[in-house]
């Protein structure tokens, strides 16, 4: 992949939408890779016992999966220099699986530093699940 050039980017440019599936197996893989073994992300009976509607995705899975959209857009995941979000709503993952939809828009550009700020909007079943999700990437 080649890194996106500053000259090819304008404020208001849009990214996606990209649809990303998520299953219970995805969450087990994420739990093992991240070290977050909270059973609300794997065990339906446990999740319901603490008042959740079903198994929910790790907020950090959702953040990580959404982040791939901006990494792919810039062309090198190592160019993501800042990334932050609020976790506003859970992604519920029934046994049949679910999906998130990620869209981005370029909010600002700094020509001197080649930095672009991208705001990501991530929804599940039409509901926004991440709030104020901003990534800063270094373009070429």
């Amino acid at each position: 992949m080649s890194v996106r050039q500053l000259s090819e980017v304008a404020v208001g440019d849009t990214i996606g939408p990209v649809t990303i599936p998520v299953t219970r197996d995805t969450l087990v893989a994420y739990a093992n890779a991240s070290g977050d073994q909270n059973p609300i992300h794997q065990n339906e009976a446990f999740a319901r016992s603490v008042g959740l509607p079903d198994v929910i995705a790790h907020g950090m899975w959702t953040m990580g999966a959404a982040g791939t959209v901006v990494s792919d857009w810039v062309g090198d995941a190592g160019r993501v220099v800042q990334y932050g979000t609020r976790f506003t709503q859970p992604v519920v993952v029934p046994s049949s699986g679910s999906e998130i939809v990620v869209q981005g828009v370029v909010k600002s550009l700094d020509a001197e530093s080649s930095l672009a700020t991208v705001e990501l909007t991530t929804t599940c079943d039409g509901v926004k699940v991440l709030g104020r999700c901003l990534a800063v990437v270094r373009l070429d």
């Binding site: 995805t26 093992n32 991240s34 907020g59 953040m63 995941a77 993501v80 220099v81």
Partner: protein
Amino acid sequence: MAVNTDFVGRTYPPSGPYAVDAALVASFAAAVGATDPVHTDAEVARAAGYADVIAPPTMAVRFAQMTDRVYVTDPEAGIDYSRVVHGEQRFVHHRPITAGDEVLGSVTVDQARPAGGHAMIITRTELTTTGGEALATCVSTMVVRGGGE
């Protein structure tokens, strides 16, 4: 259990080192659906200027959460971890975490206060290599449900 506000400003001694290898990076990348070959192909990563395959940006949380455990499980801190909900997460990356790195983490408690019947905690975790090279600053906001009494 009420969160202990005396912990604000406290910095714990570094924890780790946590080893980063290509298999761990590949498993994290697969779990979040990151298909950028810089995570899995050392030749591609080197051509992009890295020493080896690099971690996806949010993989820093693995080391940050391992580091934060010393605080959130401190009996004096007053945190019921079974009631913790992740509210917000921010990363500033100084350079990508790379296979071969030995990561140290140091957590500072930026905030610990009651908030409307709950408690709000903000940790700032600095990840560095054992050689002292800055990797990432990870800021995590956690809400302890019903933890503010």
